[in-house]
Symmetry: C2
Subunit: 184 residues, 2 copies
DNA sequence: GAAAATAATGAGTCGCCACTCATCTTGTCA
DNA sequence: TGACAAGATGAGTGGCGACTCATTATTTTC
């Protein structure tokens, strides 16, 4: 992998930013032309950097998951054991609610980015958050990581697709958290 | 609205059944041609009965919601107050898991059936189930119907898109139900 | 059982969109 | 600064899929 030329690197960034915005607004079915236009670049340039629309979508999803994974690690490092998991949970749902991309991807509407593997990268840090919460007595001991991941996915998708208001989101998450918490 | 000719009524049913199957398998992005083929009918016939692909999708969604609404009413009538809500909840999630249609619709991937209004029809019977559960002390008194609807939508979508196994589904729903239940 | 509706047929139209490629432009490096 | 490689450009191509309509077939009706 040799060095990219300066303008190429700049354009790559612009395209990613534009794609993130366009897909967040219009969903994954938005056209590549629209991304190119928003990036101020010809369509050929988009395809030079991302040979396939799927590659472009994949790059965005990867970036999002990178950010989330890092946020989880940060919470595990700096957050209070009893609340870090819930804080992260809330954070993910808020992120998802602002992005139509992920949900459209997951729905398999013609697109088939493999999200399974990248998603699994989240499982480890989430598992760590869960363990700490359980040790602190904030979550029942019999809750398993895959259950938390399932709840996370469910809340994220629903928040996005259902257009939850912040108020409804808080109230609904409170119920989920209540279900995770230790009794008594 | 005059009477349909006999063959027309027959074909309409065939088309609905075929569409239900095709969209359940392939998602809402499946082509109308495929529906026509499965129904054993020419494509023009499909468009005679449903002038738009959206109309076809809408008809299917409406039928599904009709069935669910009826099931909710049945549970309210015949089920035990403490368990009817949970039973219905489980039923909906199972139904959803078998149908890619609804999720694809909700994701707004180019399609825009208005699901808001039909969904609201579910809210009343669900509200009834909730009230009875609360009176029986099986659900906390401060839980509101829109929260239950939100959880329902979340679980349904995730079960479908995430490909939950029956086992994971049960364990995850258990956590949600725990969150709804009265403490103590 | 024939005329008059009503419906079915399916090749064809149209627009959209992912992707290509011959040509022109720009950055890099000596 | 000039030569060359790397990149950008955007009109063009191909395929797909929603939707149309002139023609043909089936019911219904009297």
């Amino acid at each position: 992998m040799t060095q990219l030329r300066a303008d190429a690197r700049r354009n790559r960034e612009r395209i990613l930013a534009a794609a993130e915005a366009v897909f967040a607004e219009r969903g994954a079915s938005a056209s590549t032309e629209e991304v190119a236009a928003r990036a101020g670049v010809a369509i050929g340039t988009v395809f030079r950097h991302f040979p396939t629309k799927n590659d472009l979508l994949g790059a965005i999803v990867k970036a999002l998951l990178d950010r989330l994974t890092e946020e989880a690690a940060r919470q595990a490092r700096e957050g209070a054991p009893e609340t870090a998991l819930f804080a992260f949970f809330t954070h993910v749902v808020e992120e998802a609610a602002a992005r139509r991309t992920v949900a459209a991807l997951l729905s398999g509407g013609g697109v088939d980015v493999r999200v399974d593997k990248p998603l699994r990268r989240l499982e480890e840090p989430v598992g760590a958050l869960l363990r700490r919460a359980q040790e602190a007595g904030a979550v029942r001991a019999d809750v398993r990581p895959d259950e938390v991941m399932a709840l996370l996915a469910a809340a994220s998708q629903a928040a996005l697709l259902g257009g939850w208001t912040p108020d409804l989101r808080d109230r609904t998450l409170r119920i989920v958290f209540e279900g995770l918490r230790a009794r008594g």
